[in-house]
């Protein structure tokens, strides 16, 4: 952007120069000389033409192209977001169906079918996380659902019994909470602290898997926890699980709707706003997800504390997949291709405004994806040991790769003419 401005200024400068060169001639030329007059007219004419073509027409055409490209990138992003949330909603519906089937006939098989649906749905959802962090439909204060869908970390004891405390949790407190319905659980979500998570993906995960007490595998909650007469408060646990899976579907439907095409919704505002405002949101989402959420909350914290509890998807032991899916979502916005959509990506714009950073980002995004794939499972074992243990080496490399791509996002933002929440480094 800065580059382009410079260019048009110098064009303007050139025309002014051309004009001023014509003036001295004028002084010397006797006014009677027709030839000189003609020369003057020609000089002025040439200068004017130069001025008009160089200053007005050419940059305008450039700018039109540039503006058009920015608009296309923004509109394809809206397409990606809609496809992402529509798929995520569909996968939550599948999960809901499997959970209902499980609750109707609890068995090891029906539980395991519900768990696979959770894992599949979770991967889709994580790919949409690049659409967070700018008060869009997922996390805007008015009706955002992020804290309903994805709140984490979660204090298990807030929901259900934990080792050493069989009375813990909302489920085991029929006196205070006689009926476990969606509305109540939504109110209870994050009441009294951010870890008091009552609903969303991680609540469902805890209900399906139970606490993770096995160093080599996920939680092993028996299906009988949901069988009346066998599990303590089984009926309440079942009602709870049903309510939270219904809520997930409702909430994701709301977000998908906000991104629907041809409707009077967030998407319309997003694609009609000045393109740079929307581009800034896109880049902020990518940078904040990379640096704060992935590298910070989900990697640096377990890396430093070496505490199992800090693992992102600790009950199901699927944390290692989370990073891959997150990064895949970022890459989709970069390339413009993903969720079954193929269009113009941020990369196409980057190549135009700052080819160097586009090249860097291509390499860095690929490196981060490779790094996330190299994190060994299970994650809660990878964090342990000395700093040269292979798991910890892989984690540190992933953090560094994500940090590198973040700095480049900030530089790209600069080149595009705006700033995001992370400084582009020294």
């Amino acid at each position: 952007m800065a580059d382009k401005e410079d260019r048009s200024t110098s064009r303007l400068g050139a025309s002014v120069l051309a004009l001023s060169r014509a003036w001295p001639d004028l002084k010397r030329v006797p006014m009677r000389s027709i030839r000189s007059c003609l020369r003057l007219v020609v000089a002025i004419g040439v200068a004017l033409v130069l001025f008009v073509t160089l200053v007005r027409t050419t940059p305008a055409a450039d700018e039109a192209d540039d503006a058009d490209l920015r608009r296309q990138v923004v509109s394809n992003y809206a397409e990606l977001a809609h496809a992402g949330y529509a798929q995520s909603h569909a996968s939550a519906v599948t999960l809901q169906e499997r959970i209902n089937a499980f609750l109707k006939a609890p068995s090891a098989e029906t539980l395991s079918a519900a768990k696979s649906a959770w894992i599949a749905g979770r991967q889709v959802y994580l790919r949409t996380e690049t659409f967070r962090f700018y008060s869009g439909p997922i996390d805007r204060p008015s009706d955002g659902v992020e804290t309903f869908v994805n709140a984490w970390p979660l204090d298990e004891a807030y929901i259900d019994a934990v080792e050493g405390d069989p009375d813990a949790g909302i489920i085991n407190d029929p006196n205070q909470f006689p009926a476990l319905e969606g509305d109540l659980l939504t109110i209870l979500n994050e009441r009294g602290g951010e870890a008091n998570v009552a609903i969303g993906w991680h609540a469902i995960e805890f209900l399906l898997w139970g606490q993770d007490r096995d160093p080599n595998g996920p939680g092993t909650r028996p299906f009988t926890d949901f069988v009346a007469g066998k599990g303590r408060n089984a009926d309440r646990r079942s009602a709870y699980l049903r309510a939270v899976s219904d809520l997930l579907v409702t909430h994701l439907a709301r977000v998908a709707k906000a991104w629907e095409p041809e409707a009077d919704n967030y998407r319309r505002a997003f694609v009609t706003a000045p393109s740079d405002d929307s581009l800034e949101k896109m880049l902020s989402g990518m940078a904040v997800l990379s640096a704060f959420e992935m590298s910070g909350e989900r990697l640096a914290v377990p890396y430093e504390t070496q505490d199992q509890e800090e693992e992102h998807s600790c009950f199901s032991d699927t944390t290692h997949l989370d990073f891959i899916a997150n990064q895949a979502g970022i890459v989709a916005v970069w390339t413009g291709k993903g969720f079954g959509v193929a269009g113009v990506g941020l990369r196409d714009l980057a190549r135009r405004v700052d080819a160097d950073i586009a090249k860097d980002l291509d390499a860095q995004l690929a490196a981060s994806l490779a790094a996330t794939k190299a994190i060994p499972a299970p994650f809660d074992q990878a964090i342990l040991g000395a700093d040269d243990a292979p798991g910890r080496v892989a984690l540190l490399a992933t953090m560094e790769a994500l940090e590198a791509q973040t700095e480049s996002f900030a530089i790209l933002a600069d080149s595009l003419g705006f700033a995001i929440a992370i400084s582009p480094g020294e």
Partner: protein, 477 residues
């Protein structure tokens, strides 16, 4: 024109008309109280939207108070993330499998810092009929020789929760009293005065000489910057004897530092009782959650209570120096969101009024940090916190019963105003002042008394348009 006439009449009635000024400008009446130029706007200052200087970020929404300062390096952002985790996560009763986070209680107000500072925002006060706090706590004391002593049975703070098998100290309830009032132009308003009652004391009666004070949790943005302001700057701002005769006599609150073992200027808390972020944080761990640390090795359990309860400690201390450092760093480096709508003429008018009616005398708009703070990027920076960090006598209506440290019940620290326009987004409410009694920004101003009385009265005499402009300016912060 009608406004001018109304102004004129009001001013005449008050006998405050200055004829000479009228002669100079027939359009706008002016006296020492009313704003002069009717259409004057504050000039746009380069960078004024960046309230937190190097710690500013352009963000809004629910997480507006959750970003690390933009200047942090990638490594520092990791430390920030770790501190954030200990800030958000619930602590549990010892012994527990989560060994890194056990030791809660025996008494506590919340299980996590975020239990009160949800999303690092302002706590919500109690509503009538509610018994659980979401960010409001009650300080306790009895008269001492110099400042209050902790209450002999319940200590310096009422804890309304306790671990399994221990009874909580007490509960409390709130009763609200309506206080009607009127602006000079006749527009009515109604303030709401809170009264607290402590109920069900578990270890015996509180006694007649108990002193109580309610405090809500503050927003935690830009605190490292406030820490980086040199003591000399604050002392220069102070005017304890009001020697310049402007009716405003801020003074620095000298407090004893636990870490440094010497008197320092208090900066944090509603009464500026803590000199550093670290001491505020360590105090919060032990007082609000019952977590001991290298700075406070003993649980806040009084001798009377100790005789009647049993509990297991989560370690000695329960939190390591490293963890304390992480949470401290986190609390120091949360970014300050940039202002919104700075160029809006209404906001600029409001800013002009803010200066004109004397708000900036305490809510100092611009300060410079020194060159000593541990966080390098915070040194020698221009910041716009809208505070002087000094104690001011704010009148009887705002006073409670507490004499914290060297302060009187009427004295309060000028709170920074950065971020106050974002409470609705972050915390879902618009409650202001030390106990959250003000339900909106106008009420917050209307409660000002004492040294703030003259500027409050000038606020009440403003036209509706200028009042709205002032609020629009506050909302842009």
């Amino acid at each position: 024109m009608q406004r001018t006439t109304a102004f004129g009449l009001a001013c005449l009635a008050l006998g405050l008309v200055s004829v000479s000024l009228l002669a100079i400008d027939g359009r706008a009446l002016a006296d020492e109280d009313a704003p002069t130029g009717e259409d004057e706007l504050a000039p746009l200052v380069e960078g004024e939207e960046r309230l937190g200087g190097p710690a500013s970020v352009v963000v809004g929404g629910q997480n507006a108070f959750s970003y690390p300062a933009r200047v942090l390096t990638a490594k520092e952002r990791r430390v920030f993330a770790v501190g954030n985790a200990f800030f958000k996560d619930n602590w549990v009763m010892a012994p527990a499998s989560a060994v890194g986070r056990d030791g809660l209680g025996p008494f506590f107000n919340a299980r996590s810092c975020s239990g009160c500072h949800l999303r690092d925002g302002r706590g919500r006060p109690l509503e009538e009929g509610e018994t659980a706090s979401a960010g409001l706590l009650i300080r306790l004391g009895i008269p001492g020789e110099k400042g209050d002593l902790p209450h002999p049975i319940y200590g310096g703070q009422l804890q309304e929760y306790a671990i399994h098998g221990v009874s909580a100290e007490a509960s409390f309830a709130i009763r609200l009293e309506a206080l009607p009032g009127k602006y000079a132009d006749g527009v009515p308003y109604e303030l709401q005065a809170p009264h607290y009652e402590i109920t069900d004391p578990a270890f015996g009666p509180l006694g007649d000489d108990v002193r109580i004070g309610a405090r809500v949790a503050q927003q935690l943005i830009g605190l490292g910057l406030l820490e980086a302001i040199p003591e000399a700057t604050l002392i220069a701002l102070a005017d304890p004897e009001d020697s310049d005769g402007d009716g405003i006599s801020g003074r620095a609150h000298m407090v004893q530092s636990v870490r440094h073992g010497r008197p320092m200027i208090g900066r944090f808390g509603w009464k500026a009782t803590q000199p550093t972020v670290e001491e505020q944080v360590a105090g919060a761990f032990v007082n609000d959650m019952g977590i001991t640390s290298p700075l406070h090795r003993n649980e806040v359990v009084t001798a009377t209570e100790a005789k009647r309860i049993e509990y297991v400690s989560g370690g000695s201390p329960e939190m390591t120096e490293t963890k304390l450092n992480r949470v401290t760093f986190y609390s120091q480096t949360i970014a300050v969101p940039a202002r919104r709508n700075v160029a809006d003429p209404v906001v600029r008018r409001g800013k002009w009024v803010f200066d004109d009616i004397g708000c900036a005398a305490c809510h100092v708009s611009e300060l410079r940090t020194g060159d000593e703070h541990a966080i390098e990027a915070y040194r020698n920076a221009v910041i716009r916190p809208y505070t002087d960090l000094l104690l001011h006598d704010m009148g009887e209506a705002l006073a409670d019963q507490k004499h914290d440290g060297d302060s009187t019940p009427r004295e309060w620290r000028t709170p920074p105003l950065w971020g106050i326009g974002l409470f609705a987004d972050v915390s879902g409410h618009t409650r202001y002042l030390h106990d959250g009694r003000a339900r909106n920004l106008a009420e917050a101003v209307l409660w000002h008394g004492g040294e703030g009385e003259s500027s409050r009265d000038r606020f009440k005499r403003l036209s509706k348009r200028d009042r709205d402009a002032l609020i629009a300016f506050l909302d842009s912060l």
